[in-house]
């Protein structure tokens, strides 16, 4: 599954996207965020406050309680500042 990162999430993790194989037991977006956070200092820096992170599954904004299900792309990014 592809995970893409934007803005300071991308900068802190140090890459714009990566392919990951999710371990068993990762069901929701929240599970994913906490699993990623433990993958290294760069992830910990980006995800230190997981509740701030906005998430889109296949380009649709979802809450952290959302089951990940069968998707092709998950995006993690800071609160949006467009307009």
């Amino acid at each position: 599954m592809k995970i893409v990162y934007f803005a300071w999430v991308r900068e802190r993790i140090g890459m714009g996207e990566e392919e990951v194989a999710l371990p068993a037991g990762i069901v929701t977006v929240d599970d994913l965020l906490h699993w990623l956070k433990g993958r290294g200092d760069n992830y910990a820096a980006a995800l230190q406050a997981p509740e701030m992170i906005r998430v889109a599954i296949d380009q649709e904004h979802v809450p952290h309680s959302q089951p990940i299900g069968n998707c092709t792309e998950i995006a993690l990014f800071p609160p949006m500042t467009g307009g």
Binding site: V4, F6, A7, W8, A56, Q59, E60, H61, A75, F77, P78, P79, M80, T81, G82, G83
Partner: protein, 153 residues
Amino acid sequence: MDAVSVAVQKGRIDLAEETRRAAPGGDAGAVVTFAGYCRDEGGRLRALEIEHYPGMAERAIRMIAEEATRRWPVLGLRCIHRYGMIGPGEEIVFVACASVHRQAAFEAASFVMDFMKSKAPFWKREHLADGTTGGWVEAKDTDDLAADRWHRL
């Protein structure tokens, strides 16, 4: 829905041309436009850099615009958001909304802007006049509140 037209682009927005295009046929009594500009912050700012999520950016704006057409009797709704480097005085975002009546045109345009600020995947970073890169612009609670007020209608 045909009334909605969305663009996400790097280049300048031709406001005169967009305004001309927004001129309605015989049905519309009112056209409201909004243009959001990069301020110079008293000379502190050299440019804003806008990062976006390609694909989702256009899709999110289209969802916002189509929601507006369900809430108000909109005859035409054009939404453009730029990305990349944007200098002070340049336009960042443009909305034009045509409706039969002025109140609907004002409200629908304002609604779209409130959601573009906090619900479309764009992020601003400052480049400063002294050549350094400033920080990412922080999301403002007031922008979330501005979007949330429409839920209370």
